[in-house]
Amino acid sequence: MKPRQIRGVHVPHRKNTAGSHAVRMKDVKSVTIPLSMHIGAPDTPSVKVGDEVKVGQKIAEGGYMSSPIYASISGKVKKIDTELMSNGYYIQNVTIESDGQMTPYEGAVPPVIESYADFIAAVRDSGVVGLGGAGFPTAVKLNVKDLSQIEEFVINGAECEPYITSDTITMTYRAGQVERGLELLKKHMQAKKIIIAIEDNKPDAIETMKRITANDPVCSVCVLKSSYPQGAEKVLIYNTTGKIVPEGKLPLDVGVVVMNVTSLATLAEYVETGMPLVAKCVTVDGSAVAQPKNVVAPIGTSLLDVFEFAGGFKCAPAKVLYGGPMMGIAVPNLRQPILKSTNAILAFDHVDGEKPAEGPCIRCGRCVNHCPMGLNPPMISKAMRSKDNEALAELKVNLCMECGACVFVCPAKRNMIQRHKLAKSDLRAWQQKQAEQKKREEEAKAKEEGGKNG
């Protein structure tokens, strides 16, 4: 029996670019590669200004919770500096000026995998992180103490955001790599069950994935209803396996590992060819874009270069996003680079770019009835306004994944996500303070008791 589905919202699909091959960008003059494109500590550069680098050569590495970064074009390291990025942090960047050759690095050879440890090392060397947008280092995710605790792998090909089709392109045109990726999971992760989850608005992708998994006792395709946010990790796990990931726990705690389909294909590509993650397929679309298409761009290419390569703008862009319109991040300028986890860059005109004015909440309950996490945005806003952190904790604002379904359905166009983001950080700060105070009190108590005994 199929488990009950979490109710989402119907966002317009606008998958204009689903049916065509991605175009590869060849002539990039320079790239600026940020040294933090993953969750965890930033990498430290292993090259210096003036060094000659080739495509696939390692230029930065970090600790356990990180992912190595490779040169995406061949040429000379021009500068290493720190710049303010769209996530609000100052991050070190390596700028490489192209020699126009795109010479592959001779050290980029397929890894030899003989054990589980070799496999994890290969995953790490592939430079792959959660390519769906989260950027969690895949080597950390797959490094599991006891492989038998993994009951299911869920391969995320839901791609529920409007416009984005880069995962669809992966499934339709890189099916061979996905297939080899599945083999890797079976061989090295002892996968017992692999579910490829796809929304029903991608018939081509469903067909190819069904073809490669036909007669496979381990792998299956799960066709999901097109509803936003179907691809959100907790929603996806529930809608494919019926399991609920409790608050503060990881999917692994309920025996599930979720992997983005493009991450899997990229990993397979590395194992096969030895070329790590140096280029990314991104969907270029939006109301200001002249010719929507998918572009394979070297990581670090500026958004302006990618837009111009794709055919330029129809009109001056008013708002430019990394990712889809529901959760994408607006960028301050077009110098921002393509990141590992960038799956789309969208440019909108003034009509789509301006946010509608906020009206008063009329308590219609649409947000309450559409929140996939079962939260209550009006109560959260109220608790936040009165700085009631206890209420915020009880209302579980920390569970908000900022999918934006509430704002999408809100007739008053209230900016709940902005409030929830602030409420979450307020709550975290308050809880930290509470914990510290508790610790101090306990210490004082212990001291007092120690004094008595002494």
Partner: protein, 312 residues
């Protein structure tokens, strides 16, 4: 590309529904009942509607100007309050009284509490109750519809039921509104049509109206012991108007589906108790007002359990 780009927090997409187009849908849904009332009660009905709607808009506009707030009349909610209040008045009501009622509804109940979305009670209902208490005789008039046999006045169906002469009522006449009563409450058919429109347009859910009306039906069935008489009971008075248009007001009723069920049953029980044992013939307004007060608690009790949440 020297032009500055817009930076906002996600999402960068919003749906088509706006406060204004929801309000417009409600006005459209009220239209059949309004038109029928003009046909039934004559042209003076138009004067009553005009006095409440125009004064509602003027009061809200004036309040915004005097308190130096942003002009809010374009959200159309004042028009709905005006329409609903008029629908709760007899056609013979002196117009100045209607304006006083509107003042209470708009200024006291809505604007002073902070405007749209902040009032805890339904403005039109409080307006009606204030008028009922202040102008009892004018409000209790039961003008008959045009073309009825007794041209001056006749008892309202609820008065007939209370007096025990229930057999004299005709189901079909009640359904089509050919009976005496307030302007917009008599024609159940037109009200149902509007309710159906609102449900199809996803403006309201069926939960409150259905549970409200069903509870009154069941209560009447138990007391009268006759399914036919119970049907007469639910078709008389302001039950359909209240259940479909006033108990589904977003601002003053619960947001969760279960909360709406609780609200509907609560309203139904109170209405039924007031109708059969209270000293007023009609209890719809009072029951909705009482449940309005309970709404924050109902919302709290019926709050959904967060997905995967553990006790704090």
């Amino acid at each position: 590309m020297g032009e500055k780009l817009i930076l906002t927090v996600s999402p960068h997409f919003t749906g088509k529904r706006t406060t204004q187009n929801i309000m417009l849908d409600v006005i459209l849904a009220l239209a059949p009942a309004v038109i029928v009332s003009v046909i039934l009660f004559g042209l003076r009905a138009i004067a009553v509607y005009a006095s409440t709607v125009i004064s509602a808009v003027v009061f809200e506009y004036a309040f915004d100007r005097i308190t130096k707030k942003e002009n809010t009349i374009k959200d159309l909610s004042a028009i709905i309050t005006g329409l609903l209040l008029a629908m709760n008045l007899p056609v013979t009501i002196p117009l100045w009284q209607a304006v006083v009622g509107t003042f209470f509804a708009i200024v006291i109940v809505k604007c002073l509490f902070g405007g749209l979305g902040k009032n805890f009670a339904n403005p039109a209902i409080v307006g009606r109750i204030v008028m009922l208490l202040a102008f009892t005789s004018a409000m209790s008039a039961a003008p008959s519809f045009l073309g009825s046999v007794d041209a001056v006045s006749s008892a309202t169906p609820l008065a007939v039921i209370n007096s025990g002469d229930i057999r004299s009522l005709s189901l079909m006449k009640l359904f089509l509104g050919q009976c005496s009563g307030a302007l917009g409450e008599t024609c159940a058919a037109a009200l149902l049509l509007g309710g159906l429109y609102l449900i199809i347009r996803d403006v309201i859910s069926w939960h409150t109206p259905v549970t409200f009306i069903a509870t009154v039906y069941l209560g009447s069935l138990i007391v009268t012991g006759s399914p036919y008489e119970a049907l007469l009971c639910i078709l008389s008075g302001g039950l359909f108007l209240g259940a479909i248009f006033m108990a589904t007001d977003y601002v003053t009723t619960p947001t969760t589906k279960w909360g709406q069920v609780v609200f509907g049953i609560g309203c139904g029980l109170l209405t039924f108790i007031i109708r059969f044992w209270g000293s007023y013939p009609e209890g719809v307004s009072f029951s909705i007002l009482l449940m309005n007060i309970l709404t924050p608690f109902i919302d709290k009790w019926t709050r959904k359990k967060p997905f995967g949440g553990i006790a704090a």
